[in-house]
């Protein structure tokens, strides 16, 4: 089992190496099929693991293997593989979508200037993503966490000649790092207190009371419960970055600069879900306050992003905000305690959202070809205002859009209905029963179902707005429309597979009740509850009971809101009973705010980045022009001045004194020379004077 897992982890890395180091060969000989072969092999292996897991059919199925990575004597770090129901399901999803994207890209990326590089980076991405999934400790997840960040950076910037793509890739990496700082701090807190980062080690450490004992003098002996809350929130910050949660969501819409299959794989189905996956792994250690924070962030994101998706005209931007919104749902679910629902939505969303992205890629692909044919290089191939009426031209793509949109809107018989309904029921249950956590104590818990159902209406609305604008009505550009045609099989077949996987029964077998999540999934994934057994704590039994109660009303309400959303979109965009333009002008500020993404980017740029860069300039200026120039070089200059002063003093005083004494003697010598007359008589007189003087001196 471990060997299989290791193969799944490492094979994509091999694909990367082949694509990068044998580029010439690859590009001349259809070498992308090597990568596709490798990827299909991992898919087969993932299926094998899945079969073994289903064979056990045990919620507590788990295999773990650990090795010491390095050991410093009294400090060591480990690496290990954890195979449990969650990681096996994730592996399968990643391998499946990655395989489909590999195949789809043969057509979508055909003729690209950096074709083998593209496949290579898909390989390194899949490797890193599998690493996240298979990690058994928080340090290792952090390692692969950054590596998916790298692959995301490389793939968003695939067309780096465009400044917008280069900007977007940088923005993605740096924004993610902001979240990662928090995650790293959380990791350091846990490492310091418990001395381990292994998931199971952390859970048992907290459950067994080691947490209270291990704090010591950290933060001056912090309150164990408060510290655990903070550790949870800080670790969750990693998820805020990676899963594009408010307020770090800003990178994901920009990431749409990458090739569309990449958007499907990385920025819709898998990597962005890594944050949700991390939250799943930290779920047991979250205190009620931390859970409230998680739920609130998720709820805000779900609602906020949905409000932006309504007004976007770029087909990928709509889907991007939709992804942010759906990720918010998953996060909110985990925060409310609806663990199974959150993880379930991760899986169903991965399928239908990958489908939506690849389908939009199909449209964009056709648009590009059409624009190429009519030699139009200015028109935006992704702007829905240039589309319309495409359902006759692209019937398969259209059909898949319909299926996936019904799923995301929460219509029965589709997978999204089940998972979204479970999330909404969870938020309802949370609101009606939660006593613990700051949301409840501030009487704000009802805001979660409000966000949830609100976002559900909007989701149904914007998805059908997208469909009506793209596939219905008259084309606004008949010249493009003429040239449009359905995408080739390599693209449509993966789409059909994903559309099929948007049907409910794949997730509920052996049960086939379209209104109930009961089935294999809900059997193998079990809410683990909390390991926090001190202070306020999440009450699983209580929650499950309320969840059961909330199930029916939540379902009815969610059906109503979905119908409302679709109905309203039909009125505005299909039947045109209400004019979108007059709506927009009536809503005025709201419309403008939504259209401009509530000015978040502007806030970051003008409020944080620009002032900070100015600060950096000031630091650099201070360093060289002031500190170094005046103080350091000033010290040099002053030393020089003092030295030359000393030099002058030396010349005038010391040397002057020396010279002066010389002068004295010279003068003395000069003046005395006059007595050297050379006459003997004079000398005798001097001698006589001398003798007299001696006598006189002796006499006294």
């Amino acid at each position: 089992m471990i060997t299989v897992a290791l193969l799944i982890l490492l094979l994509p890395l091999l694909s990367f190496a082949i694509q990068i180091f044998f580029r010439k060969f690859i590009e001349s000989k259809n070498g992308e099929w090597i990568s596709i072969g490798i990827q299909l092999t991992t898919l087969g292996l993932a299926f094998y693991l899945f079969a073994v897991m289903i064979g056990h059919y045990d919620p507590h199925f788990r295999i773990e293997e650990n090795v010491t990575w390095f050991n410093l004597g009294n400090f060591s770090l480990e690496m290990g593989i954890l195979i449990d129901n969650i990681s096996v399901i994730m592996l399968l999803v990643v391998a499946l979508i990655s395989s489909l994207v590999h195949i789809y890209s043969t057509e979508y990326m055909k003729g690209d200037i950096r074709f083998s590089r593209y496949y290579g980076f898909l390989g390194i991405f899949t490797f890193s993503m599998n690493g996240i999934v298979l990690a058994n400790n928080f340090f290792m997840i952090y390692v692969f966490w950054e590596l998916v960040g790298l692959s995301s950076y490389l793939l968003i910037g695939h067309w780096w000649e465009k400044n917008s793509a280069a900007d977007a890739s940088k923005k993605a990496f740096i924004t993610n790092r902001v979240g990662d700082i928090g995650m790293f701090m959380g990791l350091m807190i846990i490492m310091t207190v418990l001395g381990t980062l292994n998931y199971q080690g952390v859970y048992t450490g907290i459950a067994s009371g080691e947490w209270e004992g291990g704090i010591g003098t950290l933060f001056g002996g912090a309150n164990p419960h408060t510290l655990l809350t903070w550790a949870g929130i800080l670790l969750f910050m990693g998820a805020v970055g990676k899963s594009a949660q408010f307020p770090l969501h800003i990178w994901l819409p920009d990431a749409m600069e990458g090739p569309t299959p990449v958007s499907a794989l990385i920025h819709a189905a898998t990597m962005v879900a890594a944050g949700v996956y991390l939250t799943v792994r930290i779920f047991p250690i979250l205190t009620p306050d931390a859970m409230a924070t998680v739920a609130f962030i998720g709820g805000v994101t779900a609602f906020y992003a949905a409000t932006i998706a309504i007004t976007q005209n770029d087909i990928k931007k709509v889907l991007a905000y939709s992804t942010v919104s759906q990720l918010g749902y998953m996060i909110m679910a985990l925060g409310t305690g609806a663990y199974v629902a959150g993880f379930f939505h991760l899986i169903t969303h991965a399928m239908f959202k990958a489908g939506l992205f690849l389908a939009s890629g199909s449209v964009i692909h056709a648009m590009h070809h059409a624009l190429h044919d009519i030699k139009d290089h200015d028109t935006d191939a992704q702007d829905m205002r240039n589309m319309g009426g495409l359902k006759s031209k692209m019937p398969y793509t259209y059909l898949i859009f319909i299926v996936a949109s019904l799923s995301i809107s929460g219509i029965p018989f589709f997978s999204g209905f089940l998972s979204k309904d479970a999330i909404l029921a969870g938020s309802w249950a949370y609101a009606s029963t939660a006593h613990e956590g700051w949301l409840a104590s501030m009487h704000m818990a009802w805001i979660l179902p409000f966000f949830g159902f609100g976002a559900a209406v909007i989701t149904a609305f914007y998805m059908f707005r997208l469909i009506f604008m793209t596939f219905f009505g008259e084309s606004k550009r008949p010249d493009i429309f003429e040239k449009m045609h359905e995408s080739p099989k390599a693209m449509t077949v993966p789409l059909m597979i994903l559309a099929a996987l948007s049907l409910f029964f794949f997730y509920t077998i052996p049960s086939i009740n379209p209104f109930s999540t009961h089935g294999w999934f809900s059997h193998v994934i079990e809410n683990p509850g909390t390991v926090v057994n001190f202070g306020s704590t999440f009450n699983l039994e209580h929650f499950e009971h309320a969840n059961h109660e909330a199930h029916m009303p939540a379902m009815i309400l969610s059906l109503i809101v979905a119908t409302l959303g679709i109905g309203f979109a039909t009125l505005v965009y299909l039947l045109k009973k209400v004019s979108a333009e007059s709506l927009a002008s009536k809503l005025g500020v709201l419309y403008k705010g939504s259209f401009n993404k509530w000015y978040m980017d502007e806030f970051y740029i003008n409020g944080i980045i620009r002032p900070f860069l100015k600060g950096c300039d000031a630091v650099a200026l201070f360093d060289m022009e002031y500190y170094d120039h005046y103080l350091i070089n000033g010290a040099g200059r002053n030393t020089k001045k003092v030295s030359s002063g000393v030099g002058v003093a030396d010349d005038l005083i010391v040397d002057g004194a020396v010279n002066f004494s010389g002068y004295i003697f010279q003068w003395l010598g000069w003046s005395l020379k006059f007595i050297q007359t050379g006459r003997i008589q004079n000398y005798l007189i001097f001698a006589l004077i001398g003798v007299v003087a001696v006598f006189l001196l002796n006499a006294f």
């Binding site: 990575w69 390095f70 050991n71 390692v143 590596l147 990662d180 350091m188």
Partner: protein
């Protein structure tokens, strides 16, 4: 058993100098290959030392003693342990590669390579001396060739940079000398032997010097001397200038090896000999580390000159070393020394790569490029590797050492470690922003005919990249070499007094 491997590894380049002296100055090729041969042999000897090294022992190995000036108890005393070994490996390795980078030097080659080898002797001597007097001699030996290497073969402001570097360092040396003499006179019996000095920490903390605690006074004297080399804010301003003006190979040595000497000095001399003062000064040191990280990163972010940005990134990266070692924990200390090694390899790559583009474009203005990735994909790839190594990407060695510094510092200097995490974001910001401006966007038409990196340049970079990658994936071999010694050091210092938290 006394072999003379350490003397051999130190003085091998001397033989190279001798040989070079006999070669006519016109035979540049011979001179180059002699230099390459001398450093190459030195590297081989260093590897033999590595093979003979016993990593389970925390003590000094392969000691060599010889009486030198017995009247003052001055000895020729060399030895190696887990602290010096990484540096002893790094020095000939970088010197050897830098010789090949120096092949593009085309002025007074004979003197250049002779001075370069002399510099090499000085560096090796510093890392191997266990007699403070001998250490000081080597410390000064290094200074002279560096002055000429910058002053003669440097860029536009080479004279200014050289004199500034020289005076700055000399200022530090004077304080170092005072500290050394003070130690000598306070110790009983008077000695320069570092091991004997380290056995009497209580004498320094209890004696007075100029009416003050002798240990603290000496620590501060040594601190300034070493801090200038690290460099620690506010003693860092020689660095951007010297790094930028020096020729590529000299920048490589300057950043790769010379900067390590300051930190090495702390760990070899200040920490074990003056543990009380070390603990007393640990917090200020960690704060200075934080300043280095944030201030260095902010200054790097503002630079327009690529080489200057890399220079400031050194200020930033050495900050991690400081917080790691100030914490006096096993993780922090090992992280700090590992970071010294990794910074050596990574920054060497960065400077070499800056040299590559400068040789072609004759400028280093970050804004003056644009879209180069299309034209020079291989160069862009290697640069990308080095930049990601610089920003601490997991899988590359810098990540592990930085992470260890953080994890080690966190329990002791919690808020400082938290503040320093800002560096993680800023690191990414300045490297990626520079990368984007140089390589992405539409191709600047000026560089339509830019040549990609050539084989010689590539082959000097590949070994560095391989080490960075290998130690990033599997750091245990390097950490195993040093952990015994460093854990012992941590225990010794901590035993001298209880750490005060912050």
């Amino acid at each position: 058993m006394e072999n003379h491997l350490l003397s051999l590894v130190t003085f091998l380049p001397m033989l190279g100098i001798l040989a070079i002296l006999f070669v006519p100055r016109a035979r540049v090729d011979v001179i180059r290959w002699i230099a390459a041969g001398a450093t190459g042999l030195q590297l081989v000897v260093a590897l033999i030392i590595l093979g003979a090294f016993d990593s389970s022992s925390s003590g000094i190995q392969m000691q060599e003693h010889a009486a030198w000036i017995p009247a003052f108890n001055i000895e020729y005393f060399l030895g190696i342990d887990g602290l010096s070994l990484p540096m002893v490996l790094l020095t000939p390795f970088l010197s050897f590669l830098a010789i090949f980078t120096s092949f593009s030097i085309n002025k007074a080659e004979k003197s250049y390579f002779a001075l370069f080898l002399l510099l090499d002797v000085g560096m090796m001597g510093v890392f191997l001396s266990l007699d403070f007097f001998l250490f000081y001699i080597f410390w000064e030996v290094m200074l002279l060739p560096m002055y000429f290497l910058i002053g003669i073969w440097g860029g536009d402001q080479k004279e200014y940079a050289a004199i500034k570097f020289f005076l700055y360092t000399l200022f530090g040396s004077v304080l170092l000398l005072l500290g050394m003499l003070a130690l000598y006179f306070v110790s009983e019996p008077h000695t320069f032997n570092m091991l004997i000095l380290a056995q009497q920490p209580d004498i320094y903390s209890q004696s007075l010097l100029l009416g003050m605690n002798a240990g603290k006074v000496i620590f501060l004297l040594l601190f300034v001397g070493f801090a200038i080399k690290v460099p620690i804010f506010p003693f860092h301003t020689w660095l951007p200038l010297a790094h930028v003006q020096a020729p590529t190979a000299v920048s490589v040595i300057l950043a790769g090896v010379l900067l390590k000497m300051g930190a090495y000095g702390f760990l070899r001399i200040s920490f074990p000999i003056l543990p009380h003062a070390t603990l007393w000064f640990a917090l200020p040191m960690a704060i200075l580390g934080l300043i280095n990280i944030v201030y260095g990163a902010m200054a790097a972010l503002a630079q327009k000159d690529l080489k200057k940005m890399v220079a400031y990134s050194s200020v930033n990266h050495m900050g991690y070393v400081l917080i790691g070692m100030a914490a006096m924990t096993s993780a922090g200390m090992n992280g700090a020394v590992f970071q010294m090694f990794n910074h050596g390899t990574i920054t060497a790559m960065l400077f070499m790569l800056v040299g590559v583009i400068y040789d072609r474009a004759h400028h280093r203005d970050i804004e003056g490029f644009g879209g180069l990735a299309t034209k020079v994909p291989l160069y862009a790839g290697v640069m990308g590797f080095a930049f990601f190594a610089g920003l601490g990407l997991p899988g590359l060695s810098g990540f592990i050492s930085e992470a260890l510094c953080f994890i080690g510092a966190f329990p002791v200097f919690t808020w400082i470690a938290i503040g320093a995490t800002v560096g993680i974001v800023l690191n990414a910001a300045y490297f990626l922003w520079a990368y984007q401006r140089i390589f992405f966007g539409p191709l600047n038409p000026k560089y339509e005919n830019l040549e990609d990196i050539n084989k010689r340049e590539l082959y000097t970079l590949i070994p560095l990249a391989m080490i960075t990658l290998f130690l990033g994936i599997y750091p245990a071999p390097m950490l195993d070499l040093m952990s015994a010694t460093l854990n012992h050091l941590v225990d010794t210092v901590n035993a001298a007094g209880l750490m005060t938290g912050f």
